[in-house]
Symmetry: none
């Protein structure tokens, strides 16, 4: 079972590295579907390494859903949270956890969560940045602890431009 898992990860990695080298030829200010798929699969691989079941969503520069996957047996309630984390991150070009520090009672943007059809402001949403330092989208992860969700989201964002640390 474990060797099967490693085999699948290996196949995905080959695919990702191939599409990666092809995608590098052009730098876009909006995430491509190939890169959105790549971020998704790398994030999923990270989740499998951490042995945690998550939902993963990628939105584009317009904060519109670009790619999504829900791992088997992950929380049903995390579908919406993963998508909202990705949207929240792109809406304000910020990691959702950082936004949440400002939206606490007494904070400068207290209850901003009521806007935009519902925001999620705890960790797990991360902007995706290209080589020109433009924000081209965002990734949202939900299903694990907030630390796991954030680390998985960072792994996904780093699949596009490897500039973030856990």
């Amino acid at each position: 079972m474990n060797s099967l898992k490693h085999f699948k990860i290996c196949v995905i990695l080959i695919m990702v590295s191939l599409t990666s080298s092809l995608a590098n030829a052009q730098i876009s200010n909006d995430i491509t579907h190939n890169d959105a798929l790549k971020a998704l699969l790398i994030a999923k691989q990270k989740a499998e390494e951490l042995n945690v079941l998550v939902n993963i969503a990628v939105v584009d520069a317009g904060a519109n859903l670009k790619s999504f996957i829900r791992m088997d047996e992950s929380f049903l309630g995390s579908i919406d949270i993963a998508i909202k984390k990705a949207k929240t991150s792109r809406y304000f070009n910020i990691a959702t956890g950082d936004l949440g520090k400002l939206s606490q009672p007494g904070g400068i943007i207290y209850n901003i969560e009521h806007s935009n059809g519902g925001l999620i402001t705890f960790p797990g949403g991360i902007p995706i940045i290209n080589q020109n330092k433009n924000i081209i989208g965002a990734i949202g992860v939900s299903g694990g602890t907030i630390e796991q969700d954030r680390d998985i989201a960072i792994a996904g964002a780093n699949a596009i431009l490897n500039n973030l640390k856990n």
Copy 2:
């Protein structure tokens, strides 16, 4: 009036115990409508014992509404709360009161309530578990104090697998 009430409870109990013995023949990973009705009626009986008026909702493994009843003169605003408590409990496989401890200001999932069309994270939503320890649905109760709501929900969940304590 009181003897009438006891008579009705008695009739319901006969029905429940009969359908119970029939239902035990098969163990499903999704709550059946007979069990959803049974949980509802046992929870309602508990509410009558506590002399409190509540709304009771049961959702299935997919978090979809399976059975519901609103007791006469109970709060109209509790219809939605009972349903949302049941859904919230299944969305995250947790008692709603336990989720609420984490969503307070400064908590790790502060304001998670803004997801999934609105969550309810105070007590009264309880997962329903079968004999194989699978979560097959959830029950949500609203209308009394949070302690009463939780106790009534536990009574309903215990109608399926008697493993929870107040």
Copy 3:
């Protein structure tokens, strides 16, 4: 299996007839939860006789959800339709099928379905009337053909006041 089904129907019938005789002592202008449960169970029994899987919803005089059940394996999309049929019927004190005749293109209330958060205007929603000829609620059924849904809804409404014909 079949004898089991008949046995369960029998048990439900005993319960219903007992609670029925108790409920007759008082005539309310709002459906009681006992009557809402009774309408639900009689409608469910009719569905079992017709061998069709349905969702059944009862709303009160205020068009608020009073009781609900979804039969195993019935359409997921019928949860909302059953509830909307019941609400639509009480919103306008009419059988939903009769409303639908007026909401067709060119009809006098064309596209009324866009109001009230979405109406359903094909058959399966029926007002529930008491002995004083007051409308005390409505029942909505979804999952079978429109003829089956209507017949099942009528059976449920007739459990309260036996005045409707198929």
Copy 4:
């Protein structure tokens, strides 16, 4: 550009065929994320063959979003339509185009689209069936003509059980 595209398709095909043979070992009544990803990628490949830009969504047996991709430059308005087509198809276990034949003016379920938060009843949503003939999910496609959307959805569903014809 074209040889690049063929190369990418080739890589995806290798991945899909490999995960396919691994996935066949087990038959589930709910679509797995591997199969949901596979259906997505095969549908995307079909769209590339037809030279049309689409959004593709896969939902599970509970009508919950399982996987999604939006092709670059496809309609933004098709994100919601693709998801709604997949949900509609699972809500009623039917191809959306067949449902739409019944929801026309004068049809037996006219304006059913107003239920469930909005249904889409033109072609492009197809149930996904496993080898045991159980419906395990559905796929929805939007962005091309209705014929193209339907053909792409069928290609995706056939990736799981090859039993549908265009």
